[in-house]
Symmetry: D2
Subunit: 354 residues, 4 copies
Amino acid sequence: MYFRSDNQTGASDRVMETLAMANRGTTPGYGDDEWSTRAVDMLKETFGCDLEAFFVLTGTAANSLALSCLVDPWHSILCHAKAHILRDESTAPEFYTGGARLVPISGGDGKLEVRHLEHYFRITEVHAPHNSLAKALSITQAAENGLVYSAGEVASLCEAAHGRGLSVHMDGARFANAVAALGCMPADISWKAGVDVLCLGATKNGGLAAEAVIFFRKGSAEEFSHRRKRGGHLLSKGRLFGAQFLGWLQDGHWLELAGHANGQAARLFSALTSIPGIRLAWPVQANELFVILPVRLAERLLSAGAEFYGWDRGSLPADTTLAADETLIRLVTSFATSDENVDRFCAKAKDLAT
Amino acid sequence: MYFRSDNQTGASDRVMETLAMANRGTTPGYGDDEWSTRAVDMLKETFGCDLEAFFVLTGTAANSLALSCLVDPWHSILCHAKAHILRDESTAPEFYTGGARLVPISGGDGKLEVRHLEHYFRITEVHAPHNSLAKALSITQAAENGLVYSAGEVASLCEAAHGRGLSVHMDGARFANAVAALGCMPADISWKAGVDVLCLGATKNGGLAAEAVIFFRKGSAEEFSHRRKRGGHLLSKGRLFGAQFLGWLQDGHWLELAGHANGQAARLFSALTSIPGIRLAWPVQANELFVILPVRLAERLLSAGAEFYGWDRGSLPADTTLAADETLIRLVTSFATSDENVDRFCAKAKDLAT
Amino acid sequence: MYFRSDNQTGASDRVMETLAMANRGTTPGYGDDEWSTRAVDMLKETFGCDLEAFFVLTGTAANSLALSCLVDPWHSILCHAKAHILRDESTAPEFYTGGARLVPISGGDGKLEVRHLEHYFRITEVHAPHNSLAKALSITQAAENGLVYSAGEVASLCEAAHGRGLSVHMDGARFANAVAALGCMPADISWKAGVDVLCLGATKNGGLAAEAVIFFRKGSAEEFSHRRKRGGHLLSKGRLFGAQFLGWLQDGHWLELAGHANGQAARLFSALTSIPGIRLAWPVQANELFVILPVRLAERLLSAGAEFYGWDRGSLPADTTLAADETLIRLVTSFATSDENVDRFCAKAKDLAT
Amino acid sequence: MYFRSDNQTGASDRVMETLAMANRGTTPGYGDDEWSTRAVDMLKETFGCDLEAFFVLTGTAANSLALSCLVDPWHSILCHAKAHILRDESTAPEFYTGGARLVPISGGDGKLEVRHLEHYFRITEVHAPHNSLAKALSITQAAENGLVYSAGEVASLCEAAHGRGLSVHMDGARFANAVAALGCMPADISWKAGVDVLCLGATKNGGLAAEAVIFFRKGSAEEFSHRRKRGGHLLSKGRLFGAQFLGWLQDGHWLELAGHANGQAARLFSALTSIPGIRLAWPVQANELFVILPVRLAERLLSAGAEFYGWDRGSLPADTTLAADETLIRLVTSFATSDENVDRFCAKAKDLAT
């Protein structure tokens, strides 16, 4: 009954097999190998466009390096109040950008909306060089509360951002889950909607440790390659990344994995909502559930061996309040979550709730 | 009718005379001169305690260098949503701290209160090394809206901060105005109330370009001296700063200047409040007035030669709203503001208001 | 006939198998897993002492992060004129240290010697805060020219460094080769000789991508963990590193691999030196050979399918000069270099030399 | 008998008078005042060209900010082994450039020469992104050993640098002395010779604390203004700088001051060379003398009240050695050095030498 995170499961068999295959023999180093080349080609095919892509080890590195190519150190980056880049990556964005500033423009709940951008610009006068000018917007897909931005929503945000001279970065740690949820083409919620740079995460969804930074606007390659090297993220045995991405993308494997994770979240959702005393803070669209339940029930579930994290109440919808005896928890499903795992948890919850 | 800012007037005669005196002859460089030594001694006398003080050119340098001694690059600094360090100093704090983060914990109005700190700590979980830990609190005295923190208010904030392991920095660009307004001892609202580092500004109140960074907790001297040098703020002819501070502090000159500026603000206040259609957003405690008045009146005053800035409505008290035909302006008085200047402006306002 | 580098071969079978094993099931993330714990325990056993160890992806990250814990941004780091940290890691050390300075104290040839340190201190006056103070010495083991520092040489350098207040960092990208060459205990050329921080590289010698930063002086753990996170090097699936190091260290596997590589270098050496017109720039002690040979022979070997790099003449011994028709190349052997590979190359060289 | 440095004398009367004049009344802040505008106009007139100029407080700030506009953080800056930016400004260049590297390309003696550049490029291969690419050359005028680069020498260096894609920065802390020494136009040894950015120092030659960063290639204004603000070098009472430069430049005052300093150096030179046992390390071209004399004489002079610094033997010409009983000292003259001062010193030296 493991629902803590989707980053604590190993890689999928297929990814591991590709890695094992790629391990044989000698190849040129530093990403000039055949596996990396094929992985980039596969990304081009997947997104249906030309692009520049770079592989790195972690989401924090991917996001921070990507942002450092979009802003100067005296600029600001607008984001959601609960954005991962703001809350969970220490001050890595400041480190890589040389001291640019993250500015939360929303409340703690929901998704970013165009009105948040408009409000920010309405209340923010910028007189150079005294005030920091916003030059980038960062969107997380799927969002921190498990919701998914539709293609239209992404497009509206990008349009509003571009209209103000901002580039758009997408933190796609769960991009695969969003694509699977929407049943759309990867292009629809990325470059076609106006995203300039996408950090596409494989790690949470079947990779071992691999993130791709994808520039849809060409021309950042040289700068990025210097920044990656300085950050110590240029791998000598670059095929480690290439092979992971190749195995992950081929034959729609990545979307299969994400579809499975989303499906298990839906399975949890339908079983849990029928249990009295349990309600969901947000609709379930991808692979995360934010569940409001009695404190006692949560404690009993943990005692019974269920594994999940309590969650920050600041992320509840504005009009939702917890009763004194309620708490908020997060459940995450992954490509490896089994039916049996879900069913046992739900049965246990039903049992303990009464 | 000049009320734009207190940083656009030259130095007081006395400060200029001391500077001229200090200019003669040769002295050791880099602050090892007699003028600088005497200025530091005068600071010790003024604050009634031992201390370490360093002189720099600007408030931005003073604040950023001071903060860089209080936090590591992965820490956060809590401040007011309208704090000068957050709004008006580009990303200098990030530059000097190596990428630490400024976190606004209040709304845009009023002063910082203990409840803001408490709220922040209630909603903010910190798991190292993922989340950035708050290690400093910054208070502006007098505050951005012209209010003055009482000794008790400073003490409460410092106690709350220290209780959480935070150091306290005070941006004292208008510290002199606050002391003059409260009629207290400088120590009462600084080290006795718990402030760890004070940036004492002379520039806005009779200096030419001189700020003192004062550490009440000893032991930061060596680190500060390296940081100042790296920032290019170690002056070879250090007496430039020493002489300014000496002239400024001697015989209570600094408080006389600040008292004059405060008095002129009070004079403006009493004259303006008797004019129909004009109201004050905040009580007038130091040398800044935030005035709500008809748009048409503001325009007429500008046309008549008055000089002032329109101001950010986000700093209005939460329960104050502007009518459609109203606007918000800021008036600042200085040590050089004459009675005649004030009276002409008020007469003109009265005249144009009808 | 592949002798380009030891970082362009995959991982050893054993390392890959351990990785595959570790991939199964869920574990706590971020290095709190059993594999990482066991790997650190194995390091303690290997070095025969208590220590703090952190895993990262690349040598550049390991070296830069390690150095950032030894110096402040206003300090200098002394190193060999051809040190990898100075020549081949872009400005990563400056990035991670916040702008500290690398200072080459030797000529381009040979190894670092105590006299280089002594000469540096003799010609360098430091007046704070104007001049940058040296606070760390960096040694590469095995050295950039393939030589190995004996335990006594390391101890002498460390003693000279410590006597001047410098910490000692060892870039151990080929530390395994050095241990195998000397037939000593790992402790003998690290902490027992006075090394404070060792970057132990597995990547070049049988790992996939794994370096351990090992602090023999305890107390840097918290700072390092923040710096690693900010650099984007904290892996969620931390067992990736743990498993590699475990598989690599167990049963002396790492020294077997290094011993093989060294042996193949010796095999190359004895065959090549019997060929007229070929001489070695430096004795062969680990797994690198620096070979002086006729330009025409080098070209013919490349045409015949041999793979190696031409090398920087600045690293030749001071008393060695190249004739007009001579060139310098580097040959590197690895754990995967076969007898057949070596013998074919030597036969070809013999053949083409005549 | 004060010959320690030219930065320990106050400002010239004329500069102080201009400052006092500028101090009156209110002006726009942050350099938008009339004094600053006039000073920039005067710079354009002085250099006979259009340019962008910014004023800052110190040479360290000027040099570091200027360099930060020429290179990215992964680049290198070539300079003389004794360059002030390398030796005497802590790691300020690294701080402002975000971690670019200073690379000394000469020995410790003499001036930079084209052959130093050529040698550097001959021995330095750059493979991106592993190695740091040189993108700027820094020249000090007058040089650290008191020599002056002729217009032809500057032009040759600039041509060699530009040919390799490097920008040229000139540290002109004693640029006035160089112009006075050469009797040339300021343009001849700056933009006409190919210098891209000149840091023109007034501080050492009659200013109080004022340096101008002058861009002859337009287009860096916006970036510089952000960098200056972030460094805390944007002065609210900007006229402090404007007035100093205006007073300094008007009517050739700056060259008069520099000419006087140079003249006193020449006066010292002719008197000292007639004293047995005294010899000069370098010809005297500007306002610095590097004097080799018996240790005992140096000690006696200090005892007799003379003030000067001992100097680094590493800056001696390659073919000059000190006898065991000899030492090297530096004498610096300034705009304020009187005939009487010089004559007393020389008489004393003559007297004590025998």
